[in-house]
């Protein structure tokens, strides 16, 4: 039984996110590698970074990132190296060029629009005079009072 369990575990165990044998000896380089791999997508997974993923491909990419860093690449060069080979799909933080400008500007532009609309509305409200109290009929007014009293 015990052997069966072990076999099963060995057969089915997932390769794990960041294995001890991947870790670089240089803590500074390792730190950079971790930062970079948090921003890279595991291509065969659903929305996971290679830092979190336990897929084999993610492991290969993690090793690749470390290889590039050890070879002396800067962060930007290492990323560019991977994007050249795997496309911008690997970037979890989309580039800001081209049509992606829309994505990056959507928030600020919307905030500006909403802010302007809000200010216009607020100025109008503060300038308005209270309308005559004709909103509710007497019966409704009484009913509203009843409700408010509860």
């Amino acid at each position: 039984m015990k052997r069966l369990v072990l076999c099963l575990i060995l057969l089915m165990s997932p390769a794990w996110a960041v294995q001890p044998d991947e870790v670089l000896d240089d803590p500074v380089l390792e730190e950079r590698a971790r930062e970079l791999s948090k921003g890279l997508r595991c291509l065969v997974c659903r929305n996971e970074s290679i830092d979190d993923s336990n897929a084999d491909l993610a492991r290969d990419l993690r090793l690749l990132v470390r290889e590039r860093l050890v070879a002396g690449d800067t962060d930007a060069e290492a990323i560019a190296f991977i994007v050249d080979r795997y496309g911008e799909y690997v970037l979890l933080k989309p580039q800001s060029g081209g049509s992606n400008l829309l994505l990056w500007l959507a928030g600020p532009v919307m905030l500006l629009l909403a802010g302007v609309t809000g200010v216009v509305y607020l100025r109008r409200r503060s300038a308005a005079t209270a309308p005559a109290e004709a909103g509710l009929s007497d019966a409704e007014e009484a009913r509203l009072k009843e409700i408010m009293k509860e």
Binding site: V5, I9, L10, M12, Q19, Y89, K93, A106, G107, E146
Partner: protein, 655 residues
């Protein structure tokens, strides 16, 4: 037999919903009391039929009726009873049945407790709610029928996805659905008010409990989901900006905005059309959530019945309800005139700012979520939008919100003097600054995130306390008066403080987490952020429907043993899936999180361990927010049923 009864009940419920969607609406339009009165029994009947159907499906799961395809695909005789029951909604078809069950439950609640609503409005609300029911009943019956039989039943089932066999996840969907579907109620109220052509303070008060309830359930549901991800997925992340998470987060943001804008409708009769629009959009986001989860257009970790046909059907439902709602809104928006007049500096203005920030934040999340789709369709670019984008684009809104919140919460209505409020708030502000500065000085890195987060947290919590204390007036007896403040005041303070607690947890966890990955021999120890972790041994354990490799780990600090921890690696042979069960040692200020990995070739085991500062604050804050909402909901002024019997029955209000 029971299965067929359930199936039949579901079909009957569909027809009841059709009836309820049409007759009361005509009745309310032509003022025919009999046709109006039909709405209540219909809503009750619809709920009872759906509940019967749901009970039949649950029965099939509990008794492992493998002649049902759904049970075969998602259950197994060896599974614990709890997960047999939760397996009912751990799949697409069953979860849709739960969804409509909640739709009809909310409708029935209006029928049972909505006695203080004018009959015309109530009939219209129930009719609109029934329309939503019709759409989803049809969706279930035509595209995802849970009651399909197999001609040749197998001996055993294929088991539920092991990741779902967990108490946290077992109750995550029901709460989320209660939240999503609760927003269908606000949608129904909004559409009914548009048909009726009047929105007033009373409407604001009627709709508020439902918004509040939906928001509370969403808060709990999202909190549970994130807590589950934290301890189950094995690396202690709590939020991944996954499309499906975003799908639940957007309605939460919009519901929070709606909650605040409906206060303005209720107290000041302003922001009416905006509130109606928000109510429509909020439900729209709920349905977008359903669409994203179930259509598979956007890849996500929550892969869950990815079927284009279902996706198209859901998109159709979404389009019909949104186009219908928005067209009605465009036609009737003119009717809703604001009454309240207020200055630029007032509670009203601050609530407008709150709404702008929450809605634009939701918009940013929305754009980020669908951008991969848009980029591929229109710009032919295949790209990803992940956590780095959202962290960057979303966080500023929360910081701004946190900064203005204590001020806005204390400003008086109509016309306010900012100086007076700022003067009261100077001590909380200084306290928060001091805490932020302390965090800055004590941390080893240069990250601004942690100190800013702690500053905001202290500012929110102490600001809420000062606000509450300020309401007790002057002189002696303030403590007694504090206790007797309206529950809504307490709810507001508790919920706002809860937001602060969550912000502190998120910031601390993102800024000061310590991680350690290494190979450990049995008997070996290592240090993690001042704690000592010792691997005492590794055992094989047999569970009910899984096999487990369990590590025995001792956690100690300066020689004192704090706890023994048992991280596991499990294998579910039937489903053929491994899971990691992290071992957690919870503390008020930190969690220690240990995961055991693979045996290594040269002996020893891979062990990952984390020191997670303030981890529990994230969920503690969520609980506080939900508690605050519940306190506010229990305020006697909002109780739905209050006055139902005493108030005289008024006639149908004028059109």
């Amino acid at each position: 037999m029971i299965t067929e009864l359930g199936h039949f009940a579901l079909i009957l419920a569909f027809f009841t919903a059709c009836f309820q969607a049409i007759v009361p609406l005509i009745g309310a339009q032509r003022r025919m009391p009999g046709w109006i009165a039909v709405a209540e029994p219909a809503a009750t009947l619809q709920f009872l039929l759906t509940a019967t159907s749901f009970a039949a499906l649950t029965y099939a799961f509990v008794y492992s009726d493998f002649s049902l395809q759904l049970v075969v695909n998602n259950s197994h005789t060896a599974k614990p009873l709890l997960y047999k029951i939760t397996g009912v909604w751990g799949n697409h078809e069953g979860s849709m049945l739960l969804w409509v069950l909640i739709v009809t439950l909310f409708g029935a609640m209006v029928a049972w407790f909505g006695g203080n609503l004018p009959p015309g409005l109530r009939a219209r609300v129930l009719a609109v709610q029934a329309m939503i029911g019709v759409a989803f009943f049809a969706f279930i019956l035509f595209t995802s029928n849970p009651f399909l039989r197999l001609a040749v039943p197998p001996f055993d089932g294929r088991d539920l996805n092991p990741l779902l066999q967990d108490p946290g996840l077992a109750f995550h969907p029901p709460f989320l659905y209660l939240g999503y579907v609760g927003l269908s109620m606000t949608f129904s109220f909004a559409v009914a008010a548009l048909i009726e052509g009047r929105v007033d303070a009373a409407w604001g008060r009627w709709v508020r409990p439902y918004t509040l309830a939906a928001w509370i359930f969403l808060t709990i549901g999202i909190g549970l989901g994130s807590w589950w991800a934290y301890y189950e997925l094995g690396w202690g992340g709590f939020w991944f900006w996954d499309p499906v998470e975003n799908a639940s987060f957007m309605p939460w943001l919009i519901a929070a905005a709606l909650l605040h804008s409906s206060i303005v409708v209720e107290k000041r009769e302003s922001l009416k059309s905006w509130t109606i629009l928000l109510a429509i959009i909020a439900f729209g986001f709920s349905m977008i959530g359903a669409f994203i989860t179930r259509s598979g257009v956007i890849t996500s970790v929550h892969a869950f019945a990815n079927d284009p046909e279902r996706g198209v059907f859901l998109l159709g439902i979404l389009a019909i309800f949104m186009l219908g709602g928005l067209t009605l809104f465009a036609a009737r928006a003119g009717v809703m005139q604001a009454k309240g007049v207020f200055g630029l500096m007032s509670r009203e203005s601050m609530l407008v700012v709150n709404n702008i920030l929450l809605c634009v934040a939701a918009f940013v999340v929305f754009v980020g979520t669908i951008w991969p789709l848009i980029a591929e369709l229109f710009f032919d670019r295949k790209l990803s939008v992940g956590p780095p984008f959202f962290n960057l684009a979303f966080t500023p809104f929360m910081v701004a919100l946190g900064l203005i919140l204590p001020v806005g919460a204390m400003l008086p209505w109509k016309r306010a003097k900012l100086g007076r409020v700022l003067k009261t708030l100077r001590w909380p502000f200084l306290l928060a600054l001091a805490i932020g500065a302390l965090a800055w000085a004590m941390q080893s890195g240069r990250s601004a995130l942690g100190p800013v987060g702690l500053f905001l947290a202290a500012w929110l919590i102490s600001g809420s306390a000062v606000d509450l204390w300020g309401r007790t007036g002057r002189g002696a007896d303030r403590l007694r008066r504090l206790r007797r403040l309206p529950r809504a005041d307490w709810g507001k303070a508790v919920a706002h403080a809860g937001l602060g607690v969550t912000i502190a947890g998120v910031a601390a966890m993102m800024a000061w987490e310590v991680e350690d990955i290494r190979v450990v021999q049995v008997g070996e120890s290592f240090d993690l952020a001042g704690f000592t972790i010792t691997l005492d041994g590794v055992r094989e354990v047999q569970g009910p429907n899984f096999l487990s490799t369990t590590g025995d780990i001792t956690l100690s600090r300066a020689g004192d043993v704090i706890a023994t921890m048992h991280p596991e690696k499990r294998i579910y042979p039937v489903a053929g899936m491994p899971t990691t069960e992290a071992a957690l040692n919870n503390g008020f200020l930190r969690d220690i999180y240990v995961v055991i990995g693979d045996p290594q070739a040269n002996g020893g085991w891979a062990v990952r361990s984390y020191y997670k500062p303030l981890a529990n604050w994230i969920w503690g804050g969520s609980i506080l927010m939900a508690l605050g909402g519940a306190l506010s909901l229990s305020d006697r002024r909002y109780r739905v049923a209050a006055g139902a019997r005493k108030a005289p029955r008024a006639g149908v209000p004028a059109e």
